[in-house]
Symmetry: C2
DNA sequence: CTCCGTGCAAAAGGTTTGCACTGGT
DNA sequence: ACCAGTGCAAACCTTTTGCACGGAG
């Protein structure tokens, strides 16, 4: 994410904290920055490493708690990928995913056409849809090349 | 899943085993039946409980290993839902999901219209798509009613 | 008869919790 | 000054691994 966009998101987070009446600590700032700086989908562990660059003595527990808080506040998203570890995504705009069956890598996919997908009529069943995303499964370039050899 | 459909799938699995030259053990049969009998998306733990109804002394390890083997053979699917535990699905046909943001429940959604979604042009980037599914997020009936009160 | 599959126990992640202390507002 | 946030350690839950035994082909 570009620096000015990160700054914008941090200001937005400042407002969220004030509205909720919760303190804006250095840890919270550092965790959010660490998530926003990456364009992939880091695990909690990867974020902890990044936060340690800023706050060497930071505790794993705190990072886990801050991540939960950020997800709860809608500032970042929690993703559910293949593999045991949860992943996080600072991108809150609608987007889609390509998931490689071989290496489990997840690649973001922006597509205005997919974004305009017409929703099925499930509202009648009582389910209230507020967003969607399309997951494609297949084989990524790297794995395809590896297989070819 | 209906009994005759389960029987059909078990016969199919028998063929898969023979083709692969691997033994069709009672454990493998029991695990597959336990997955097919449920229409939701059970965790490994729920499957272990179900298998214990048939084979009381069955080991967790074995169930985990059989589940891996079934996924690998393409007989069942591994799903990645909210929450720490992996989930399994005996349904291998294309289908879609509605995920409740409140209770994390995942509901299957069949839609011929969604099945015909035209794929974006990502093949040019080297990603080879073999399937897709649409994930809707929102609030389920139960949670909406609970909130209204 | 030969392996592969199984069961047990222990280890290996990833995440959560209890409690005393520290730091924002 | 107050109360929520933090750090530490230990617990917890899910899954994987090493090894000896037993059953399927």
């Amino acid at each position: 994410m570009r620096p000015h966009e990160i700054a914008e998101r941090l200001r937005e987070f400042e407002r969220v904290c004030r509205r909720r009446g919760v303190p804006l600590t250095v840890q919270r700032r550092a965790v959010l920055e660490s998530v926003l700086e990456r364009d992939d989908h880091p695990t909690a562990d990867q974020i902890i490493e990044a936060v340690k660059q800023r706050i060497p003595g930071v505790s794993r527990t705190t990072v886990y708690r801050v991540l939960d808080m950020l997800v709860e506040a809608g500032v970042i998203r929690r993703l559910h990928h293949p593999g045991p570890a949860a992943r996080f995504d600072g991108k809150t705009r609608r987007h889609h995913h390509m998931i490689c069956k071989k290496c489990n890598k997840v690649i973001d996919l922006e597509s205005a056409k997919l974004d305009r997908l017409s929703l099925p009529d499930v509202e009648s069943e009582g389910f209230e849809i507020d967003d969607f995303s399309v997951h494609f499964t297949g084989i990524c370039v790297e794995c395809r090349q590896a297989k070819a050899q």
